[in-house]
């Protein structure tokens, strides 16, 4: 992210927090990567239950779609992206949060394959947006 804030007018009790990310460790990485921003903005933050309701794509499905948009599965493998397969001792990212196991990885792999199959059958080109369709959720105006 580039520094978008000009010098602040601020109340004296509120220190200006320097623009730009603080970075420890590997340099040369984007300061606020797309992944960092997406997982925050789409998945976190508070919701004011208001007039308009839209059910957004589950973020896991979104990341899968992004992956398909970037490369075919084969191309991804060529690029070394193969988190869904391979020697669990070496290549599977370790999820310390929920103790993701080999079983989870296989399950995720078959989900991905099923999704790819559906997309191929639908003859869908990524990322063309589908025509507007209702989600079946009609929100009553109060």
């Amino acid at each position: 992210m580039d520094d978008s804030s000009s010098p602040a007018r601020r109340s004296d009790s509120q220190p200006t927090t320097r623009a730009g990310p603080t970075f420890v460790g590997t340099r040369g990485q984007p300061a606020q990567s797309l992944a960092d921003v997406l997982e925050r903005v789409l998945d976190k933050g508070i919701v004011i239950v208001g007039d308009i309701q839209v059910r957004l794509l589950d973020i896991e499905l979104l990341t899968i779609k992004v992956r398909l948009m970037i490369a075919s599965v084969e191309r991804a493998r060529e690029m070394g992206i193969n988190w869904w397969e391979g020697d669990p001792f070496v290549s599977t990212p370790q999820a310390m949060v929920d103790g993701q196991s080999e079983g989870d990885t296989r399950e995720l792999q078959s989900r991905v394959e099923a999704l790819e199959q559906r997309l191929a059958e639908a003859g869908e080109e990524i990322p063309a947006a589908r025509p507007a369709e209702t989600t079946g959720e009609r929100h009553e105006r109060s």
């Binding site: 990485q29 797309l34 976190k44 933050g45 508070i46 004011i48 007039d51 309701q53 499905l61 025509p131």
Partner: protein, 261 residues
């Protein structure tokens, strides 16, 4: 803009009376304020043709469309958090008009006030740990002399790797606990999908910390030290931020400190 042709997009809430430089809104729109008592909502009036509910529904699965509005929404919040406390709103955050928005805020005023109060004087910092270097086991040993020897080696190597993994996990957990110790709150998420993050190294930690602005420098200094100690084990620690506190915006029941689904 004609009322029917527009929607109100809300970015987040700041304490009424906050002094800040108003940034540009989505696609160059103006950011204005809607004040309800101690809460002030930052909003933009956008064309319904571009960002109305039907458009959202049509594009809810289009990564490129989402990416654009996500980045724009975030850009505004990032500018704001660098100057004042903000309670970020999750997308889509659209309302028919300011009256509807006001009504919704009043209905949840206590909850929103409490949420903003929890964030006062804080920002969010992100921490990610990676495995950047896996030491090969048994690389210097002389080659095996028999089939049985080979199998015994493989078994021993597998044990070594499992032990190394356990050790790394313990170190990463200790790093997380240490950083959490300097934070008001913390939230752990799943490691990011490598295809999305563009990182091939295994991600061992993906966490967010709610840190007092006054503690920022100390937190970063601590993270530097922790990075050095992790580096000895072939790992790295990356800190990002300050962020709008997305991970800590939600209800007070602690639901936000659970891992993301």
């Amino acid at each position: 803009m004609n009322a029917a042709d527009s929607v109100v997009h809300a970015y987040g809430l700041v304490p009424t009376g906050s002094v800040l430089t108003i940034p540009d809104g989505i696609d160059g729109s103006q950011v204005t304020t809607v004040t309800i008592g101690p809460l002030t909502v930052l909003v933009s009036e956008l064309s319904a043709r571009a960002y109305g509910a039907d458009v959202w529904r049509a594009n809810a699965e289009d990564p490129r469309w989402l990416e654009h509005i996500v980045q724009e929404h975030h850009r505004v919040l990032q500018a704001v958090v660098e100057e004042t406390d903000v309670l970020p709103l999750r997308l889509p955050a659209i309302h028919d008009d300011t009256l509807g928005l006001e009504r919704a805020v009043r209905e949840q005023q206590q909850l929103l006030e409490a949420a903003l109060e929890r964030l006062r004087g804080h920002v969010e910092l992100g921490a990610k740990a990676f495995l950047v270097e896996q030491r090969p086991v048994g690389a210097a040993d002389p080659p095996p002399t028999s089939g049985r020897d080979y199998l015994a080696r493989r078994s021993a190597e597998a044990d070594d790797r499992a032990r190394a993994r356990t050790r790394r996990q313990a170190e990463v957990e200790e790093v997380h606990r240490t950083l959490a110790g300097l934070s008001t709150d913390c939230a752990v998420s799943r490691p990011q999908d490598p295809a999305l993050s563009g990182r091939r190294e295994p991600m061992l930690l993906n966490a967010a910390y709610l840190v007092r602005r006054a503690d920022l420098e100390r937190f970063v200094a601590l993270a530097e030290q922790l990075h050095e100690s992790l580096a000895a084990g072939g790992m790295s620690l990356e800190i990002t931020g300050p962020w709008p506190p997305y991970n800590f915006a939600d209800a007070a029941d602690g639901s936000m400190t659970e891992p993301a689904r």
